[in-house]
């Protein structure tokens, strides 16, 4: 499937992050896990987007045909959460700095995501995991808490956003991501 064809799907799950920076690879790993262990319905697509988010989101912004719902999976540090804890973050609850430093290494800015929601009417869901640590130097592989969280996060995403005919936004938990 070409990336152009992703836009025709009702639901897109985007695994974002850099697999070469430890726990920042959680999003891509979730995408791979879903693709390997679940049957993705026809009206949805799961994409290991890694770092290639910029052009992808830009194109959706200007595309005439857009998905109804985009689920972004990424590692986001949130005060009060434990490493490996999976939670949803409302876009508006991201503080300014986190908004723009959303993914630790070149994930989609929530500015872009907000444009998608406010101008284009696309439902945006952010599924985050609390990282144990993001290494300063390149290191491959998730920490143990995040390895354990991988099946759980995949299950949550599948049950809520991929295993339903009519997708409906689920009210997120009341987490306010802090920097």
């Amino acid at each position: 499937m070409g990336s152009a064809d992703y836009y025709t799907k009702d639901t897109l799950v985007l695994g974002c992050g850099n697999i070469l920076y430890g726990d920042d690879g959680f999003g891509p790993d979730v995408a791979d896990y879903l693709l390997s262990n679940y049957k993705i319905p026809e009206n949805a697509a799961v994409v290991n987007l890694g770092l290639s988010t910029r052009g992808f989101i830009f194109d959706i912004l200007l595309s005439e045909q857009r998905p109804k719902c985009i689920v972004v999976v990424d590692a986001v540090s949130c005060e009060g959460k434990n490493p490996g804890e999976v939670f949803e973050i409302p876009l508006n609850n991201l503080c300014k700095e986190k908004v723009d430093d959303f993914s630790f290494h070149q994930g989609p800015t929530s500015n872009l995501l907000k444009e998608l929601r406010d101008i284009c009417g696309v439902e945006i869901v952010i599924i985050a995991v609390q990282p144990e640590s993001i290494p300063k130097e390149m290191t491959r592989g998730l920490s143990e808490p995040l390895k354990k969280a991988l099946p759980h996060a995949s299950s949550v995403i599948y049950d809520k956003y991929l295993n339903k005919e009519n997708l409906k936004y689920v009210n997120p938990s009341s987490c306010n991501a802090r920097c």
């Binding site: 070409g2 064809d5 070469l20 200007l62 723009d100 959303f102 070149q106 390149m138």
Partner: protein, 482 residues
Amino acid sequence: MPGKTITIAPVSRIEGHAKITIQLDDSGNVKDTWVNVVELRGFEKFCLGRPVEEMPRIVTSICGVCPWSHHLAAAKACDAVFGVTPTPAGAKLRDLCNSIAFTEEHILHFFFLGGPDFVMGPDSDPSVRNVIGIAKANPEIGKKVVRNRQLGARMLNIVSGKSIHPVTAVPGGFSKPLTEDERKKVLPMAEEVLEFAKFSIKWAKENIFPKYLDVVKTLAVIKTGFMGTVDANGALNCYDGKIRLMKPDGTYTDFAYDKYTDYIEEKILDWSYLKFPYAKSWGEGFSMDLNNPKGIYRTNTLARINVAEKMATPLAQKEFEEFRKNFGRPAQLTMLYHWARLIELLYHAEHVVELLNDKDITSKDVRVKVTPRAARGIGCTEAPRGTLIHDYTTDADGLLTNCNLIVGTTHNNAPINMSVKQSAQLLIKDGKYDQGIMNKVEMAIRAYDPCLSCATHNLDGTLPVKVTIMDAKGKVIETLVN
């Protein structure tokens, strides 16, 4: 406010990766500037001990902006390590993917990233100076931009199986041949992209460049040398060829890219994470003094157009001749990077069609076998942002013992710093400045299309800039945030 410092820090998705600091003198005029970019750290260490054939796949995770360039430079470095030459079809399929990726990237930059400054105007309201503004003002163009970028992704998927995180270039060639059915499917897409490339440069020449010629002639202007890749006949080639290093006076030297260390050295300055490559072969050392720069050269679109004798495709050649007639050789005006980018877009669009009509392109002989050995191999391609060099050394088992990368943005580190300084000096007088001036300083950076360029264009209408003003002692006296 004598002796104060202005810091412009992009508050963006790569927050912390770049900031501009402007030091004013006691009269409120610009004394000095610094552009800091944080580099990827630990890549070399990460790679050591890994089988070299894994590199083309690993390097696509370095950067999501131009993964194809890293993928192909790594594959070429592997070819050199193994001592093999890819088959003609293997090399042409790589070249094909490279040019398709170039069309995607150049369209993205001109219309989405650097373009809004010109399409909407450098002094226009920030709320419309973005891609949404372009789409609203020119809805048909917005649709065409997306359509043609989607075509690029579709073509890459058909040719290589994967446009995101590519894996198809392998040591010795390409991992899958292009079937005749696939070729027939891709060719009309390529022809459509070519039509858009023709439209883009015509539209920009009629509607954009004449309107902002004063900005082009004054903003970020510096005098440097240039570097880029040309083929044996001196024509632009972004996949393979020899490197041409041109002095500011237009004289040049050609060299094989595996000899790059004889010509280029990297300067380390204590205030920057990023190294400063310079032309050591000129024997004049390194200086970013605007009035007397030493060893400074530029890469990326304008550099490639300057070093080339000609373009290898007819329509791009026509545009090239007009450009050279208007601006000479070497053209030094920094804002001409945008114009040169559109000439390159046309070249790559033509080249894709040309390659798809090449009889070799559907050959099944796409790779040669490789055998591990102890060796050093250097691969080089032209990335959208400049000359990209991958330098690997392996032991007898083919495991990496050394790895060095020089990426496009790094080559332009010193020129970006110089262009920012020139712009700041031009625009900040007697301590007077405003957000509009700050945007123009950022435009100086965006012209080079560095990997951080996307960071300086938010879509919510705010200028993603935080200005911190400090006094001579470093005390913050004012912070401006949109």
